[in-house]
Symmetry: C4
Subunit: 202 residues, 4 copies
């Protein structure tokens, strides 16, 4: 089972790098093992060149299990997501130009998407004629604080598919790596469309 | 024969994915088998990772022939096209940023292209100095209704090469997969040019 | 020798397609054999999927030598270039979005580039602090007329590196395929910069 | 050791070319051998197609050591960097559209980046909430003069990560090739974001 999970992270990394969404060692990825542990990427590795030896296990508090590798600084957000929703099986945190720029230009705490067929790539959506709201958190280097904000926001209303961190990038998730990749790819397509709409509508 | 057809769909999927035109399981492709049946892609598959086992046969009404796979929701548009024009041999439905955005920005039901040499990539055009009109349908989740609109529009004047669905994407076709791919690639190039002209002319 | 030449055309096609500069069977390429003949690409082939069997020989008037293949309609421009300058060894005609759009937006018959280090990729330039002028011909489907315009323009002042055809694309050349590719790549980079300068300077 | 270094340059070239940052033989790369010598790329080679035979050694004054190859004209900037900072192990000079255009549009001698998480890809930065200043030198064909300007600027305040040359491109460096590539990729991502911010903020 671990082989399948670690392979799914390594493969996701190569694909995400080919799209230009994890430059310069940016990004971090994880896959849930069970109720209390997950595989996560080690800090500082280029995410397009991962091997299984660049992954480590962490418990539900983000503590390293039996490894000398250093987990990503943002591991707490991954473990927070696994704790918040038992149905989340994989989390992909990426850095694209569109997600970085749109999250800076949107002054509110929500990027609203509407009227795109591609919204249907996000589980539970079955029409373009609805609104998809993606939460935007302000960026901070205090991961404890950001994880707490995530929990507070979720307590009011659970987030779906992903959230943005301003000037930073996207967290996308799914019940498994296949769905997490679909949500990531769908959201990035929607961001690219929204960027073009902003440019062309003026 | 079926091997050639199914292979042509699988190959088209890899190429279309490499261009970024079928993200997040979006898009669906088909190839006519005979007067009353066609191969179509199953629902929910990533179109860049197709195998022949992700394809199924449907009859001219879009009904599944001898398969447990679920056809794409948009199969009715494929079979409508095959019924409307006996010379159509392959249909490619794709989602690009340019086709999504241009179809939203054009308020009328026609995107008019003029003055591009690339118009000659669309069969029957032999000059840049003419007008290519690409019909735009409003998006809907009611495929029966959209197929009917397509038939009504066609009855007034047959469409050529492809049509857009607003905020959704492109349907392109040809007498065979080679021509369908050429029409797709030519139209996407023209959309990319038109997008740049809109941006730069202002 | 012919093997080297035909291979150089096939390889150029794959690279040009990977850059997106010959979509939908667009473009045509050639390599001089001797004073009175050249290899050219056959009409209608996708230029990213060429084999040596998609090439034919033409004489200095563009007439086919011993082949059943149909040469590109624009063969006359290739042979005109070989006649105009004995030092031209290879010609690459491509369709990029930037060359298509810039040639439409520039109202005069010259696109002027200045201040780019990349100008030095064009043979004979040794500084950014000079002007590179790329001639723009109006598009026409009359290749005899366009070839004649090329000759008339050249008679007044020989062109260097390449020229644009409005709404159509670029012809780039060099003493051999290596230089033709460098001129093509350098000019496309300069067009991409110029497009961005137009967008960002406003 | 030399094999590792030369291989690192060849590999960097392939990757940089795949990103479109060394078109048309542009760019030059180097890796420090010891206190008084470095491997550098020969002039005129396409940097995406390097082999170890396209590399030569130069001393700390940029003089060729035991080779018939001609070093890049900009070798003096590489050796100046190695002399200025003993911790620099690799230097990558690239030409991207974004670095070319942003360096022309910024009228001052500094491009200031702020508020991007990706700033953390540049060694020594541990927050987005700081300012990264990238020096811009005016372009010149006099490499002795440019190397002297670099030394003068450095004497006032050492540069970090990289600098721009106006209308020309980026020099990025690191303690080794891995870090130089990370700085290059991080800076190019930041330039792409900054370009989009300029376009979208208006």
């Amino acid at each position: 089972m671990s082989d399948v999970l670690t392979h799914s992270i390594v493969e996701a990394g190569r694909w995400i790098d080919s799209q230009g969404w994890c430059p310069a060692t940016g990004g971090n990825f994880s896959a849930r093992i069970d109720a209390s542990s997950a595989w996560v990427t080690a800090s500082g590795r280029h995410k397009g060149e991962l091997t299984p030896y660049d992954l480590l296990r962490v418990d539900s508090h983000g503590q390293v299990i039996n490894s000398k590798l250093k987990p990503s600084a943002e591991t707490l957000l991954h473990t927070a997501l696994y704790a918040l929703d038992v149905n989340i099986g994989a989390v992909l945190h990426t850095h694209s130009v569109a997600s970085t720029v749109l999250s800076r230009l949107e002054a509110s705490n929500t990027l609203v998407l509407h009227g795109y067929e591609m919204q249907k790539s996000l589980s539970g959506n079955n029409t373009h004629d609805a609104t998809v709201a993606i939460h935007i958190f302000n960026n901070t280097q205090d991961m404890q604080a950001l994880a707490q904000q995530l929990k507070n926001t979720w307590a009011k209303s659970p987030l779906q598919w992903g959230f943005l961190v301003r000037g930073h990038g996207l967290y996308a998730w799914g019940k498994d790596m296949v769905e997490a990749r679909r949500h990531l790819e769908g959201l990035e397509f929607l961001f690219a469309c929204e960027r073009d709409m902003m440019l062309l509508k003026r």
